[in-house]
Each structure stands twice: as C-alpha cells, then as structure tokens.
Symmetry: D2
Subunit: 368 residues, 4 copies
C-alpha cells in the first residue's frame, strides 16, 4: 500500500474545480457530480409509441415492387418501420426492428446468415410453393404462418409461385447493434445441408427420435402453422383470459417450453368482440401487427386506432391497454424483447392503479 507516499504528495490549496479538471484529463469521472446522469430514478425511454397504417405501407411497397428490380436489389425490397425518434438506428423500438417485404412471383433471395435473429410472419400469402429455407430445411409460408430464423442460421427465400407474397420481418438487429455484436456472411446456394420439408417437426414433435438422430447445435428452426394457432385461440374462447391481453398465447420453443427465440418473444392474442382490457406496463417493448378485426390501444393516455394490417409499437415501461370493436374478433400478432429482459433478470411488470384499471384518454394519434 502506497497510501502514505501518495498522501505526502497531495497538492496544497487543492480545490474541487482543480480536482475535476485533473480527473477529466485522467479519464476519471466524479460519481458525486454525475451519478444522477447515469443512474436514473425511472427508465429514460428515448422514443414514442407510433403506428403505421397498412394501406400506406402497402402503397409504398407496391411502388417499390415496380421500381426495385433484381438489378436494384430486389432481394432487399423491404421497408423498415422506423420510429421517428430512432431514425439513426433504423429501428421500431430500441431493441427491435420490423419491416414489410414484397417478394414477387419467381424471385429468390440468396443464402446468407447473420448474428441478428429474425422471424417472418406471412402477412399476405396465397399459399403454394413459397419457402424460406433455414439451415437447408424449406419452411412453407402459408397465410399468417410464423417462421424462425435463429441467430447464425443460413437462410434464403424462394417464391416459386405465380403470385406475389408480402411478409412481416422482425429482427433484433437494434439489440445486436447496442451490444456491438453484428456480423454478416453471404453464402453460396447449397451452403447448408439440404433437409426435407417437415424435418424440424420430426425432431421437435411430441414423438421424436432421441438417441440416433443428432439434434442440431443451434436454437430450433421452427415453422408454426397459423391453422394450429387459430385453433388454439378458438379452443380458449371460453376461458377467463388475461386481464391485460384477453386470450394470449405464446409461440414456445418446443424443446423446453421457453421463449420463441432467446431475443424475440412472439405471441398471438384474441380480443373477443367488444373487449376492453386493463392497463399495465412491462419492462419490455412490443411491436404489434393486426391480423384481423379493428380496435384501439391506449398508450400513455394516447389512443391509437387500428385495423387489419396496421403495425404499432409500445415502448418499454409504457402504460398500455387494448380494446376490440364491438361485434367482431380482433386478433393481434406481436413480437417483444421480453425474453431478453427475463434472461438478464431485469423483467418487471406493474398493474395500472385506479378503480377502472384503465387510463384516461387525453390524445388521439395522428401520424400526419
């Protein structure tokens, strides 16, 4: 310990200003001065809720369908739902980015892989031979099917039908970028060992080989058919439901019942006709896509009216509640970073206080 010799060398007539200046040069920052700047009392959320209308998005996407030819990068004919407050990061929430992609009849996107994990939700598909091939396994994209592209898995897209397809992408690249961990690798066709359609179902189903057929090392590649999700929602129509989300079902990892992907949790929920849920806030951000029906959500006192095809984002730790229109089901698909917050021990949830459990509406969202 060299306390004594250092103490002997302390400057005479020292002042706080002088100390602060010397510390700055030494790359030391005084905690007593700045602690409130790096440990805030409440989450500092840097972005607002937002909503994108389906017709507007589709309008632009169809224009891109004309203009963005294969020579101009048609395999990237996709539009990011970019939050006005997150323009520099190209993202929808601070950790998630969703986009809408148009793949025209006969187009294909070459194989690649990247750190970012992705899901696809087949928003407009007339069926047939539309595939995303993940780790060599063709995953068919029927209307509203959900497909996973886990981090680091080879994937490519092929539309062998005579009609166009539109899907919703959700990626965790904003999180990957916050963690400074992005990488990308292009691949040749056939870079992944080809597998038969249905392979993932074979090795992940309730009847499966356990010893003799090796299980791949990475997170499961899965296709969740909409027909099964729709039936599962229907089976629960008579249940009590969640006070905040009505009939809410998670797409779980079939190996262990855990979240859809380590960084992205997917849910579908049925808001029964005329249902108005209570409000809560969660230490996670969520992007919703309206599968069918109409209704509104209240986010921090602002009303967001939505209908089929719309996308909207609820930022982290913001009060929110949902309501469906009278006389008709509303069905929402959503992605969130809840698995991230749970894995890191940071997930929290809070119910809205007050007799009705619902917020007062003080504004109505208007994107213009």
């Amino acid at each position: 310990m060299n306390f004594e010799s250092l103490r002997a060398a302390l400057p005479a007539g020292d002042t706080l200003d002088r100390l602060h200046a010397d510390m700055e040069r030494a790359r030391l920052v005084p905690t007593w001065k700045y602690v409130a700047d790096f440990v805030s009392r409440e989450p500092l959320v840097s972005y607002r809720p937002w909503l994108w209308k389906w017709d507007a998005v589709l309008h632009h996407l169809l224009r891109a369908g004309e203009l963005i030819t294969p020579e101009r990068g048609a395999e990237r004919r996709s539009m990011e739902h970019t939050n006005p407050d997150l323009r520099s990061g190209f993202s929808t929430s601070h950790t998630l980015a969703t986009a809408v992609q148009l793949v025209k009849a006969g187009e294909r996107a070459p194989a690649h892989r990247h750190m970012a994990a992705a899901i696809r939700f087949a928003a407009r598909s007339e069926g047939g031979d539309v595939f995303t091939t993940v780790e060599g396994e063709p995953l068919r994209m029927l209307q509203n099917d959900l497909l996973l592209t886990p981090s680091g898995t080879w994937h490519e897209h092929v539309n062998s039908t005579g009609h166009d397809i539109v899907w919703l992408d959700a990626l965790d690249f904003p999180l990957v970028n916050l963690l400074q961990a992005s990488w990308f690798e292009p691949g040749e066709p056939g870079v992944a060992v080809p597998r038969e359609e249905g392979y993932s179902q074979t090795i992940l189903g309730a009847m499966r080989p356990t010893d003799w057929l090796p299980y791949p090392d990475h997170h499961p590649v899965v296709r969740y058919p909409w027909s099964e999700m729709r039936a599962a929602l229907e089976r629960l129509r008579g249940a009590a439901g969640s006070p905040y989300d009505d009939i809410l079902l998670a797409y779980v990892n079939p190996r262990n019942g855990g979240p859809t992907l380590p960084t992205i949790g997917c849910h579908a929920q049925l808001l029964r006709p005329g249902k108005a849920t209570q409000s809560h806030r969660q230490m996670c951000s969520t992007v919703y896509y309206v599968i069918e029906g109409a209704g509104h959500s209240v986010i921090e006192g602002q009303r967001f009216d939505w209908a089929e095809g719309d996308v909207f984002v609820v930022p982290n730790w913001r009060w929110h509640e949902h309501a469906s229109a009278m006389g008709r089901d509303a069905i929402l698909f959503s992605v969130s970073d809840e698995p991230v917050m749970r894995a890191l021990g940071m997930y929290r949830e809070q119910a809205f206080a007050g007799p009705s459990g619902r917020q007062e509406i003080t504004a109505v969202f208007d994107p213009v």
Copy 2:
C-alpha cells in the same frame, strides 16, 4: 387483400427519388438503400482499449478524500474509469462501468437499490469491521474479497474501523441504460430484514437447509473470500491451464454453477511467472484489475504494460493476449459481460491464426 385497388392507385411516372421522399414522410426506411448501415459485416466497436494507472487513480482519490466531505456527498466518493470514447455514457466498456471508491474511517452510505447489478472488490482493506450490507446481511470486506449486489437488492456500506478502505466497483448500468431500464430507489436504514453475518454461506453452502428455510427470491447475495480463491489458484499451479488465460477460475453461482451474476461474470487468473498466452477474441468486453505482479497485454497490436492496481479494458471482439513478468506471479481479477452474450445466444470466440498464436506489437499505449 386490397392489392388490386392499391395497385390501380399507383402514381404514374414514379421515380425512386420520389418513393424515397414519400417513404421518409411515412416513417418507412428503404432496406435496399441502408441495409449495410444496420447490419454490418463485422462488429462495429465504438471504443478503444484503455488503461488507468493505479497511482494516478489513487492520487485523485486521496484528493477527493480531502475535498468530498459528507456534506458534499462523501457516500459517492467514487471515480468512474471512463473510456475516452464513451464519455457521454460514463462507461468503461459499452456495457460495463468500473470505478474506485474511497470510504473513510467511520463513514457510511445509506441504503438504496437499483436495477443495475454491482460487484465490489476490496482492493485496499486492512480488515476489521468493514461491511457492505446486502439485503440485510453484512458482508465483510477483507483484502481482495469479492461481494455481490444483485439487481434490485437493498445495500448500504459501513466502515466502522479506524482506517480508510478503497474498493473497486463494477456495475452494468451502461447495459441497463442501453436497454432503457434504469430505476433507483432510496431506502431508510433497516429497510431490509436484518440477517446474521454468514447467512448466505448457510443457505448456499454444500450443506444447506432445503425445505424449511425459505430461499430468497432474487439472485444470490454472495461473499467470495479471497483466501479461498487464492488457495484454489494455488492448487491448480501444476495444471495445463487455458492457452489464452493460463490458470483461470470463475466465481460461480453456488446455486447452479452458472455465472457470477446474470449480467456480470467475474474471474481471477494466475499468470505463472514468465507466461505469455496466445491471442483470441471474444464476443464480450472485459475490464481487468491487477491484483499483484506485473506484465503486459497486447490488444489489437497495441501493448499495455500493467502493474499492481492498474485497470484496463479489452473491448468486445478485440484480439488480446497476456504476459506476466519473469520471476513472479501475476494475478488478475476481471469482470465481463460474457453472461449477457451467452444468455442471448450471441457469444462467439475465435483463436488468433498464425504460427505463434500471438500478435505482432505495433504500438505501445501511452495515456498522455
């Protein structure tokens, strides 16, 4: 599907410029134009490696000891090792912040808790009754002991001895801030149920109550005595060791053998005399503190010479290797965000190619 009506309404004579402008107004960003800006080929690391010399840090800390009185916030008499490239975030790496704190004889810091998890490493302690009390349990801070303050646990500090203590703090607040999840709550003395010294050892040891004594809900509060770590390193002196880190031991979660904390992994390592390790890079950032001995590390071709008390940071995905001086052990303590990257499925590691497995030194670090 309203493809047809929308298609009919597409503008005539459309151009890409016009589309891009319209998309900007609609909060849509063209992936074909910007994809390389949000999915980079290699991790974009925004900060450089750095090193803080112990004598310089201690010099400033002792000055603060004179100037920062209880009235001026003595309970925050701490200095952040702030990376020159991360000044706005007050952090050492993109996810971690370390600091050095001086608690003078008789001082105490009042109870509080926050989302950020923390560890303390008792860099200079003459022993006796110096405690950090975590969830009501006093954890004694003998020289080089490691103490955990998991996310959300009440903690306060008391120095009841007649001498000063200096410890190293490491927190994950930069990660918490990236995730926009910070919260802080001050507490009254006695806010946590008091427990006896040794409680955590009782419920986490190899002999423990399993049914009748309830286990707290949060991540374990643990004190790791240095005497045990030092003995464990010594027992392995004859082992082969890791090619990159020589004799490396993790402080594990005694409940399940997992990482020290969900967001911070702690290690101690013995570099035997005259040892020069090989180089690798990891998808995690690490801050080192030199417990004893001297040597150097090579980080992306730059040599960082270090001795007892120095702190240095290796950014994410940067080549690094370590070497101890001849004739003497070097012992390093380190904290990293490896548990975060593993929990999210993003951890990767790569060995340095080349015959020697070591980098060429092209520069020597000089902080001035």
Copy 3:
C-alpha cells in the same frame, strides 16, 4: 471413544464360529462371508423372456366378456400378462405389468387414483365416443392412440359407443410394490374438476398460454394420436435409423422433451420390410406389442416369432435384436423402465460383439 474398555472385555479363546453366531443374534451379518450374495458380478435376472399370442389372449378376453358382468366387476375385465417367473408379483417384467382390457358398449369404470402410473394403448377401437377421463379431461381413444394416466391422477373410463373396445394397459405397479409405496383411493364421479376435450393440447402445444392459465401440478396428462405417430414414422422412412431398432421414436413429455412418464418410457418403431437389426442389451426391461406386420426377435439366443397383436417381454440386460418379415412393414409399440434407470444413474447399454452383431439362434420359443 470407548475402544479400550471394550477391547479389555473381549472374550478369551474367541472363534469365528462363535463370532458369527453372536452376530446373528445381534442382527449383524458378516460382510466377509456373504458379500458375493448381495453384490453380484453380473445382474441376477430372476425371470425369462416370454410371449403371448394375440388370438389366445383375445379368446380369453371374449370369454370374460360373457362371464364378467357388471355385478362381477366388469370394470376390472382385464388380464395381466404374467411372466411365469413372476407369478407372485403378477407382473410381466420385474418393474412393469401389462394387461389387456375389454370394455363393452355402454360400460363405464368409476373414478379412482393410485400411486401406480399407467398408460393405455387403444389396441382395438372403432372410434367414436370412447374416453378415458384423466383429471377431468376426456381423452378420446381412437385406434392405436396412446393415453397417459400419471401417478396420482383421477381417472375413469366411459364407452358411450355401440361397440366394444380393447386396450392395452401398462402400469408400474411392480416397481411401486418393490418400493413398498402403493396406495389407492376410490372417488365419486366428478371428483376431478371437469375440463374440455383438448385441454392438455391447449396448455402443452407449441402455442400455449404461459402466464395467465395455471399449469397443473402433476406430470402432464397427454393423449398422443396415432395419426401423428404414424406420420412421423413415415417421414423418417428414408433415414439411417438406429442399428438396434431401425426407425425408433419416443413419445416425449411435451413440457421438457423428457420421457413419457417418470417411470414408463413409451416408443413406437418401424422395422422396414426385411430389416434385421443388430443385438444389444440395456439396463432396462421392455414389453413390446405388435401393432402391425410380423417378424421375430432373438432374445438370449432364443427366437420369438411374432405377428399382429402379440405381446412379448425382454428382461433387463438380455441380448435382443429384431427382424421384420420380407415385403412388409412391422410396427412395434413398447414400454420400458428406462426412465427409472436413467433417473437413478443406473442405465447402461452394450453392443453385441462379433462380426455380424447378431446372435446365434439356439432355440425357438414355444409357450406350450
């Protein structure tokens, strides 16, 4: 320590015979004399392999259908496959008992529960409203469906159709009795909260409620439809298969991918036409039921010819291999105690040595 006083009191002129006699009275047994009797070199298997022909079993079952009326205990109109060496324990192997049960049109068995876990395999069902109700949930029994009745769950049977049904029961009561842990409790109708058909599928499927719908405390109640198993076997027809079992699929616990039940593992396997597997032995016992096709198994050198509906048992640690007839698939269902042996760390497996990997046939089984 009272060694000295006891030593002083040792008898003079002691002999080994006298010591042994005195020990016997003191309920002490000399290890040096008997160790080989309680620690054998190789497993001492107390029972032989056996086979029951379907027509013979069905013949008796149909006679019982006439004679065993409701007054005479029709709800127990079942016959145990009792190994000739295990007559006192009423069991098929040392840990498992299988039986065949006939439930006539309109019959029902009242609710009860017991420590023993059970499975039912719907060997002969013409479909319609035949249910086993487990914990209030009606599980439909179509041809070859598998249903679980985990330990301690309420169950009752109802045949509301106009035709008879025959199912295969497998229970672990021999194991429960070895462990001296049996209990049985009769129940009133409605003792379990009624649930809708499909409830278990809802809470265990790949899309499921995770927070708001409570999961029952016990092991999952599951119905595995044969249509899914048959399709899964078919999808793997082109695979390499297991050397010992050809295309072998486990019925897994949908919560965690673990065994069917903690004490009973169920499998179905496809032996492709003309397939002859290699021989191995396992530290577990297995009872097979032939779903379709014909073939033979060789067990410790003895050939057992089997065809549709037959049941046969392979004792613990006995060499066995299977062969299907030419030109036709053979499909086997089986139950084993492998999960018990794995859970206790006792499972072992050994491949048969020799150039062909197959046993020499030295005898042919004849039950008469």
Copy 4:
C-alpha cells in the same frame, strides 16, 4: 380385427372356473380376482423399525478385528445392520444397507467398482493419513467426515496411520438388487488416473475452472468435512428449524444443489437440548446414526432410546418423531432413499394429526 371369428369359436357352457384355469395355463391372470393383491390401499411395508446399540456393534467389530486377518478377507471386515425382516436381502431398509467397518493400522483394500453407490461416514478416526481413494483422488477421513463413492466409480481404502479406524458404510445395493441391476468389477492398483488431494474441491468449489479443465462424466466425488457441517449447524442454532427435524441440513450436490447422490440423500441434524419434534411420515426410508448426545425417537408408537454411536432405521411411510435429552445437544447423521422417490415422482409426506402433533407411546423397543 378377428373378433367375429374368435367369438364364433367361444366354448359353450363356459364357467368362470374353467376360464380361470385356462387363463392360468396361458400365463394370464384375472385382474378382477387379484387386483387388491397388487394394488394395495396403503403401502405394504414388509419390515419393522430396529435399533443397534453402538457398544454391541463395536464389541463384535473388535472381535472381528482379531479374527479376520488379511488372509481371511480383512478388506471386508464389515458388519451389515441387517433388519430381522430383511435377512434374505441383507439389508437395513428395503432399499438401503448400512454397515460398520474396521480398518486396522496399515491395512488397505484393493480397488474395485460396482453399480451400487456408497457413502462412508468416518465414525471413529483419530485423523492423519486415512484415505478412501475415489476415481484416483484421495479423500481424507477425519472424524465424522462424509465421503461419496458414486455408482460405478473406482475406489480403494488405505489406512497409513498407526491407529485403527471405524467408519459407517451406507449402500443402495438393496435397491440395485430390487432393480436386478448389480454388477461388480475388481481393479488393479492404479486403475484410475491419479489425482491430487483436493481435486474435487477445486472443480466443484464456488471458484472453479469452467472451460479449460474437463469435468468428469460421473456424479461428483465429494468429501464433506465435518468441521464445515458442524459450523453450519451452529450458525443456525437460533433459527426456527423444521417442526419434524429441528435444525436439518442436507449434504447437497455442489454442481446443482440436488441430492447427495441420485439414490442416497444424506443429512445431519441438530436437535437442540430438550427438543421434542412433531410426527410425520414420508414415502422414504431413513437410517440414522447418532453422532453425539442422547434422546429417543417414537416410530409407530414404539419408543427407541438412543445414544452416541447407535444406528436405527425408520421404514417407509411410518410415523416418526425425535426428542433430545435435556441439557445437551443431540446430533444425528442420516441416509435415506428420498432422492429415489422424488426422482420417480412418488415422494409424499404427511403430518400427524392431533392436537400435540405427537404420537402416544405404546411400547419401548428392546432388541433382546
């Protein structure tokens, strides 16, 4: 389905007696007749509680020390506590066997391994170089230390001191024999790779190598020093304790906090002076060894008085409670098959009803 043809062939004038006789020949047993014989209402426990006095055991052991020379199998100079009702199985409870072994100064037992798992408790050791070597690692046996010999691990014993040692063995061979899974293999000296003393502590401690030092495949080899257990009990002296066992600590698996071994759970418990616990029964059997003090236990209404060195057994599902003498601690060590029953989903526990929670004493145990 061949129902019809078989039905046509049913014998005329059939009777139940004739059916039963025919079934017997066909190795089929009528469930309707015998079900109560194989599914009992309550556990059928085949053996009684018993107690062995230390002085009597030691008296015989010392006589064996004189008579059983190396030529006569000194490496097996051990006596099984054989329950009078389990004489044919050589066991103490239906699943466990305990024994007391004397190893004289300078003796050694050669290496061997077997399916049965074992623990040793160093009942009388004056310290020094007494070792059980397990998988090549010497485990020192100081007074009251607990050592594990997991299933299938090589082990040998060496007493290099000048004094005799007595230890308590507990094995699961009765369970292994019930499961017909015994095997035994003798080994040459040096059959296991030698390791240094303390190796298991190094790889299982709270600070441990995680990546670079491979972890053995089998269940942990562990030595639990009594000094640590004694200190842990003392730290909890002020706690509320368990109503049935007062201050009860489990020896846990340091890898995962699970039971001591997959088949044997070990505990130590402190009955504070004058403590009388309440009664309960458990679906497991337990053998107790009195480390220090005196008291009694009541088992199914019978009082068993015990003092230092005594061994007694509580059978499965038997009411039991414990009481220590006034003015002095009583400390018990115990082994049970609770891990087996938990792993198989069969563990149950029940509190004794009645105002005092204690049984009426109706008899006093007298072994003569």
